[in-house]
């Protein structure tokens, strides 16, 4: 009464106590999706946008080539240059090939800490005490790499193809190149599975992000350098992961075999690398570390 007289209003006083939750739990939660969504958001907060912008520069250059090759006419000097640019299947393959370094930088920056940091902060028991199994965890983490890796490979290559369809004057371009988008997706998937899988595996074996970045570049480019040196006497491109990807991609884009051995060799080696990555991840990702 006294409170009312002073103009105060009645307010409920809540006791600080544990309150039960009356909501409903999803019986089969898609935990891999939760892991992927949260990971994509976290990586975005690391200001990766700047890097993605840099990764768009080659796309803009290639987009200029696509436009230039179809739309410049009447100026003999420029027309000669435009005519020299051939927009065909190898054009898209080369674009993706040259994006591989940027792709690797993006994958390294967003993927290096994905498992390494979870192990460093002993987060795995927290994950695996929830309804999360090995495949949920690994596929969730892998999808983060797919999202950002796809943004610098598959997405711009498909955009270039659509742009070519819009600006080309070539009759029957779509009829003769309808399979190229599938090849783009296949090559992108190959890069994502092999290099993304390798990145996740490296991340599972080292404790720090920096070590993971160094390790992935060493794993990719040291064999590449060795292949370059040794190829002076004989073709040993199969020891290089990037050369194997390029060889399989050449088959996908109907660009001939750039190596002196069968593309199946490259494909089998890549498949073996992926299988080894899965095995290593399976061995390494344990809910608890047992100190012997």
């Amino acid at each position: 009464m006294a409170a009312r007289r002073r103009g105060w209003t009645d307010m409920p006083i809540h006791e600080e106590a544990y309150a039960a939750w009356e909501g409903t739990i999803l019986r089969a939660p898609r935990t891999w999706m939760v892991i992927a969504r949260t990971g994509v958001r976290l990586v975005w907060q690391k200001k990766l946008a700047v890097l993605l912008f840099i990764a768009a520069v080659p796309f803009l250059f290639r987009a200029g080539q696509v436009y230039f090759s179809s739309r410049i006419s009447g100026q003999s000097f420029l027309e000669d240059i435009a005519r020299s640019i051939r927009i065909d299947a190898p054009f898209f393959m080369n674009f993706m090939k040259y994006q591989m370094l940027l792709f690797l930088i993006v994958v390294a920056l967003c993927g290096a800490g994905l498992i390494a940091n979870d192990r460093k902060y002993r987060a795995l028991p927290l994950y695996f005490s929830k309804p999360v199994n090995f495949w949920d965890y690994v596929s969730g983490k892998f999808l983060i790499i797919v999202f950002y890796g796809g943004l610098v490979t598959i997405v711009p290559a498909l955009l270039l193809f659509v742009m070519q369809l819009l600006v080309t004057r070539e009759q029957g371009f779509l009829a003769s190149h309808y399979w190229v988008p599938f090849s783009i997706v296949a090559m992108g998937a190959l890069m994502l599975v092999v290099l993304g899988g390798l990145m996740l595996t490296v991340s599972a074996f080292v404790r720090g992000t920096r070590s993971a970045i160094i390790a992935i570049f060493a794993l990719i480019y040291i064999p590449d350098l060795l292949a370059k040196i040794l190829s002076m006497s004989r073709d040993v491109g199969w020891i290089s992961i990037t050369r194997n990807i390029e060889q399989v991609a050449a088959v996908l884009f109907d660009a001939g075999n750039p190596r002196s051995y069968s593309p199946w060799v490259g494909f089998v080696i890549l498949a073996m690398i992926v299988a080894a990555c899965v095995g290593a991840l399976r061995w390494r990702i344990q809910p608890t570390e047992i100190v012997k």
């Binding site: 600080e16 106590a17 544990y18 309150a19 039960a20 939750w21 909501g23 739990i25 999803l26 019986r27 089969a28 939660p29 935990t31 939760v34 892991i35 949260t38 976290l42 907060q45 800490g113 940091n117 979870d118 460093k120 902060y121 002993r122 987060a123 028991p125 927290l126 994950y127 695996f128 005490s129 929830k130 309804p131 999360v132 199994n133 809910p287 608890t288 047992i290 012997k292």
Partner: protein
């Protein structure tokens, strides 16, 4: 029963961490007691499928731990002993994430995350990244992520480890508050007996991976109700012999003391009568077990040495 174990065994290579334990954890708050290295953490990890079990079976909330693992993990909450965090996330982000992983919708998980962070006292720090949290705050955030989805059973592994005395009391108060709601059962693994005495009604004691006792806190203390710690000055052998002849059971407790269990119906006056007859002075006469800690020490000693450790004199005379 919250948890039942049947010949439950966990091995780490050649080392047996949990050795054929058969026990039942009733609903409510149960303390899982044991000295360091007794196998408490391994038992919990085995139950949750975090380490493989070597032998035996177990159920959690009536469900088999092998065939219904995913469902069980939705129904339980787990606060690990290790300093576990999900890096890069803020406090609110980590608890929300834990809720979503348990099957809550994003909106529900966010709302509930605010509630539980308020409950555990992290409302001021909820927008800080968890890596910047102090040891006490890390314990609290681990508790918050474990209770965000309102589990039916909560596993707490050394929840007060690394906390200052004030934080420890607050954590115990929180656990007591949660246990008091009667909707959620709690299994509290610890070697700090006072924590169990303050929060639990039931105790399961393990040592070297084996079950040594289970029962209510009062029952375990009561096991030694008729046992007294006695010290005498004078001819001790005659005193002991006289006690034996009156039906008492005598166990040496260090070099100078004996534990005497009175026969049924006998009262403490017996000591004074026997002391007078044997010509000794009674210098100490105390109930052998006054707290759960005393009972625990006795049980572990009995398990390891079949009685008191020889030559040890663990209690201060009063």
């Amino acid at each position: 029963m919250s948890v039942t174990l049947n010949d439950f065994t966990v091995n780490y290579g050649a080392v047996t961490a949990v050795d054929r334990i058969s026990a039942a954890f009733p609903p409510g708050a149960t303390g899982l007691l044991g000295p360091n290295g007794a196998g408490k953490t391994s038992l919990i990890r085995g139950l949750l499928g975090l380490v493989p079990t070597a032998h035996g079976s177990a159920t959690i909330l009536g469900r088999d731990i092998h065939s219904e693992r995913k469902l069980i993990r939705q129904l339980i909450g787990y606060m690990p002993e290790d300093d576990s965090l999900i890096p890069g996330l803020t406090g609110i982000g980590m608890v929300r994430y834990a809720g979503e992983l348990s099957g809550m919708s994003g909106a529900d998980a966010m709302q509930r995350a605010h509630e539980v962070l308020f409950l555990v006292g992290l409302e001021e720090a909820r927008y800080r990244t968890v890596e910047t949290y102090s040891a006490g705050m890390r314990q609290r955030i681990k508790l918050a992520q474990a209770i965000v989805h309102d589990p039916k059973l909560l596993f707490l592994d050394e929840p007060t480890s690394g906390m200052d005395p004030k934080g420890r009391l607050e954590m115990l108060e929180l656990i007591r508050m949660i246990a008091g709601r009667n909707r959620m059962s709690i299994i509290l693994a610890t070697h700090i007996l006072i924590d169990v005495e303050r929060t639990c009604d039931h105790v399961v004691i393990i040592n070297r991976g084996r079950l040594i006792k289970e029962g209510s806190v009062g029952g375990i203390r009561g096991k030694y109700a008729g046992t007294f710690s006695v010290r005498v000055e004078g001819p001790r052998a005659a005193f002991e012999e006289a006690l034996r002849s009156r039906g008492c059971k005598i166990t040496p407790d260090g070099a100078h003391r004996i534990d005497v269990t009175l026969p049924d119906g006998a009262a403490t006056e017996l000591f004074f009568e026997v002391a007078r007859d044997a010509g000794v002075q009674l210098r100490r006469l105390l109930p052998s077990v006054q707290s759960l800690e005393d009972a625990f020490v006795k049980l572990v000693d009995e398990d390891e040495y079949g009685g008191s450790p020889p030559g040890m004199d663990g209690h201060a005379d009063s």
